[in-house]
Assembly symmetry: C2
Homo-oligomer: 176 residues x 2
């Protein structure tokens, strides 16, 4: 059975979440997940270096074949938008620099893919990621978002259709 | 006499300007400059790859020791701010990925360093860059901004003081 290893990224300057999963046929298996943090005491170039090195390490250790990145939104605060944009540019740089094909998904697509509707709360995403990947505990919000992004990519950004084919049933955004 | 080779970058998603100069003692010498362009028909990851590869090529060819990047401003349009942020994040990634120390300067600092006041028009920056580096013609606006950023860094972000020590006199932002 063909296996595709997918790296999902939830970009942020302070915290970037990452999650790696394997898609084996129609099944998904958890590989790893976590966060890369940078200190606001460092200069922006230093923080970008931390982010690049962190993602580079995940790629070197786990050899993903494809990558998926959440599309970030403009913030109420334009300065925050600019910082977030720079973090996302750095994250994508780390991925394309490692010659990974990069797909992009909106938060709406990602929530639809794992919870079944676009207005899911962070906790619902964490819960569903835990169940879909059979994790022993709840991943942190940032790691869960990154794993959710990878799951969305594994389903071709197609919402819960692919989950249903695996024998789960979904009602009100919960597996039943 | 000690020589420091400086790479200046004026980041943008559509056009990123670059300029390389040598600081030999107190003198500046032009090495190269130009633009890296990406098409809005490409996906964002493809455009970021173009930018990374372009800056990577300049670094490989010219071996700068230090880098300087213009600090970009938030745009009226938040979506443009986000795109510009991502381009800048990618540009800084290319620099820190090549282990270059990166300094950042505002447009105000850069204009003060080459023209003598912060409200200089683009054409004044182009003219002053041409004169300071003894270029045979006017560089394009983006290349001129990148060269101006490198010049600003060569002067330690100190405005026209360093130019004055080289025997030039400045009046109303023009060399006399």
């Amino acid at each position: 059975m063909s296996t595709v290893r997918i790296l999902g990224i939830d970009p942020g300057l302070r915290i970037t979440g990452f999650g790696v999963i394997d898609k084996v046929g129609q099944k998904l298996a958890y590989v790893t997940s976590g966060c890369i943090k940078s200190s606001d005491k460092d200069s922006l170039p230093e923080r970008i270096k931390t982010l690049l090195d962190g993602i580079g390490e995940v790629i070197a250790l786990h050899n993903p074949q494809e990558a998926a990145v959440e599309i970030v939104f403009v913030n109420v605060n334009p300065q925050s938008t600019l910082l977030l944009g720079q973090a996302r540019g750095a994250a994508i740089s780390a991925l394309v620099g490692a010659n990974l094909p990069v797909s992009e998904y909106t938060a709406l697509q990602i929530k639809q893919a794992v919870v079944g509707h676009g207005k899911a709360a962070k906790e619902q995403v964490q819960q569903m990621v835990m169940r879909l990947l059979q994790l022993p505990g709840t991943p942190s919000a940032d790691a869960a978002d990154a794993l959710a992004c990878a799951i969305c990519h594994a389903h071709g950004g197609q919402g819960l259709g692919a989950i249903a084919t695996r024998g789960y049933r979904v009602r009100n955004g919960r597996l039943v």
